[in-house]
């Protein structure tokens, strides 16, 4: 019956008709099935992500990095060895291009032209030590230290 209906309809109207009557029910079941399957696949991933990854939001403002809500320019950021971190950079300098790079780890966000944000996912190495984070075009002023300390894995 569905097939006969298709033959009678103009090609452009097929999609609309499909959601009406018996065809609609079939499609609905299919969508639900796909949703359930993808939920089963994604659920364990998202749960484990939430448990292990720490978000650190930095804002670029007046040619300095600040931890969101903080007042110390270019603060020292302490990370635990082996920790999973997601840096979020928000550019609050409209018209000025900023980014965030940890060059010792060869990590870098895209360049932001203001009123935008970018993320940097970091798997912190197991060895303690210091790294420098910079804004590549403004490394003379936007530069801070990342301290990797042993243990205390979150």
């Amino acid at each position: 019956m569905v097939g006969r209906q298709h033959r009678r309809l103009q090609p452009g109207r097929r999609r609309i008709r499909r959601w009406q009557g018996a065809g609609g029910a079939v499609a609905g079941v299919l969508v639900a099935a796909v949703a359930v399957v993808s939920l089963v696949i994604l659920l364990p991933l998202s749960v484990s992500t939430r448990a292990a990854v720490r978000n650190i939001t930095l804002v670029a403002r007046d040619m300095a990095f600040y931890v969101e809500g903080g007042t110390v320019p270019n603060p020292t950021i302490r990370l635990a060895a082996g920790e999973e971190v997601r840096f979020v950079l928000r550019n609050l300098d409209p018209g000025i291009t900023h980014n965030l790079a940890i060059e010792g780890w060869e990590l870098e966000t895209a360049y932001l032209d203001g009123d935008a944000s970018a993320t940097l996912r970091v798997h912190v190495p197991d060895q303690p030590g210091n790294q420098t984070y910079v804004c590549v075009p403004h490394r003379g002023m936007m530069r801070g230290v990342i301290e990797v300390v042993a243990g205390n894995r979150r």
């Binding site: 007046d62 040619m63 320019p73 300098d93 000025i96 291009t97 032209d113 003379g140």
Partner: protein
């Protein structure tokens, strides 16, 4: 602009604006006609003239640069204490002078110079004009300059200083990523300027690398207390044909037309005016309805001239003093009418009652 002070006229002008908006849907002024088919001369002409007098449509964002705040800001006085310390510190010295330390940097920034018009500027500390530097004659200035821009830049101050601090010779240019510490004493007293002196000079200037440098006389009482305003006259060549398409006092075209500078009737007003316009040989400032005393370069405490229009060459500057006698709106603008119509136009709004 008399209409602004008169409520009756203001109502009329709003109606005229609405009419103008309605007419906007018609393609030509020639087509205007009243209901009986006769040309409606009043509505055809008055709104057109009014529209021209009102400046641009829309407003410029003041998020990163507020021309009203700029007028009365020096030594980063607009910033909260903690933020200010990043860029300015002052330390009293035993001889009664002050050590003033500054952090200035060059950075590329896209700035809005008229509603919706963005200009790829080269800036000092992210703003055009750069931050106003203000000291008392004899103070020691220590300015750490960091070039975070994409081209060689530097700082060249007008005033007394040794040649090594001039920042103008080719070998004195500060390369991108480098820095330089400028140190000199502030003298002589007056209104001066600083700017980038890298080549090609006219490009580095018109891109926005300049600011006002005010040196107060050594005695604090040398100039009477006043409402003090910094005005840097500038222009922008938006299509790089070595001619300016926009003009302003303090960067934003017609800003003070939309946001009049508020002053008090009977209060002495002192303007520090610096002409940084590039490409055009001269600029000027004309104030309506009153006269002002002129102190050219601000290097004398005695006025040499009383006028209502002052002409300034590129890099020339003056202190102007006046007292508003009447409440109401007073135009000020470049008397090059072309400059005025392209943005170098503003209003003072004097408030209070007339001094008798």
């Amino acid at each position: 602009m008399r209409g602004r002070a008169d409520p009756q006229n203001r109502r009329w002008s709003r109606r005229a604006w609405l009419r103008l908006a309605g007419l906007g849907s018609l393609t030509s002024g020639v087509a205007l006609a009243s209901q009986d088919g006769q040309p409606d001369l009043v509505s055809a002409s008055a709104p057109d003239h009014l529209g021209a007098a009102m400046g641009p449509v829309g407003r410029v964002s003041t998020e990163s640069f507020d021309p009203t705040q700029f007028l009365r800001t020096w030594n980063f006085s607009n910033l909260p204490a903690l933020e200010r310390e990043r860029f300015y510190r002052e330390t009293p010295k035993l001889d009664g002078t002050t050590l003033r330390e500054y952090e200035l940097f060059a950075v590329d920034r896209e700035i809005e110079i008229a509603p919706g018009v963005f200009f790829p500027a080269w800036t000092y500390n992210g703003q055009v004009p750069g931050p106003t530097i203000r000291a008392t004659a004899g103070d020691h200035l220590r300015i750490n300059f960091v070039n975070q821009g994409s081209h060689p830049h530097g700082l060249h101050f007008h005033g007394w200083h040794p040649p090594g601090m001039d920042g103008a010779l080719a070998e004195q240019q500060v390369m991108p990523g480098d820095s330089f510490l400028y140190e000199f004493d502030a003298e002589p007293f007056g209104v001066h300027l600083y700017h980038c002196h890298a080549n090609p000079l006219k490009r580095h200037l018109h891109k926005g690398l300049y600011g006002a440098f005010i040196v107060d006389p050594p005695s604090a009482s040398a100039r009477p207390p006043a409402d003090e305003l910094v005005m840097v006259l500038n222009g922008f060549d938006t299509n790089f044909d070595a001619e300016n398409e926009f003009y302003a006092a303090n960067t934003v075209a017609s800003f003070y037309l939309q946001e009049p500078i508020r002053v008090a009737v009977g209060q002495l007003v002192r303007m520090y005016v610096v002409n940084m316009t590039e490409f055009d040989l001269i600029n000027s400032l004309h104030l309506h309805g009153m006269f002002f005393d002129v102190f050219r370069t601000g290097t004398s405490l005695t006025t040499t001239e009383s006028t209502d229009t002052i002409m300034l060459c590129q890099g020339e500057r003056a202190i102007l003093e006046t007292t508003f006698r009447y409440p109401g709106d007073f135009m000020f603008h470049g008397h090059q009418a072309e400059f005025a119509e392209l943005g170098w136009m503003g209003l003072f709004r004097a408030e209070g009652t007339r001094a008798t």
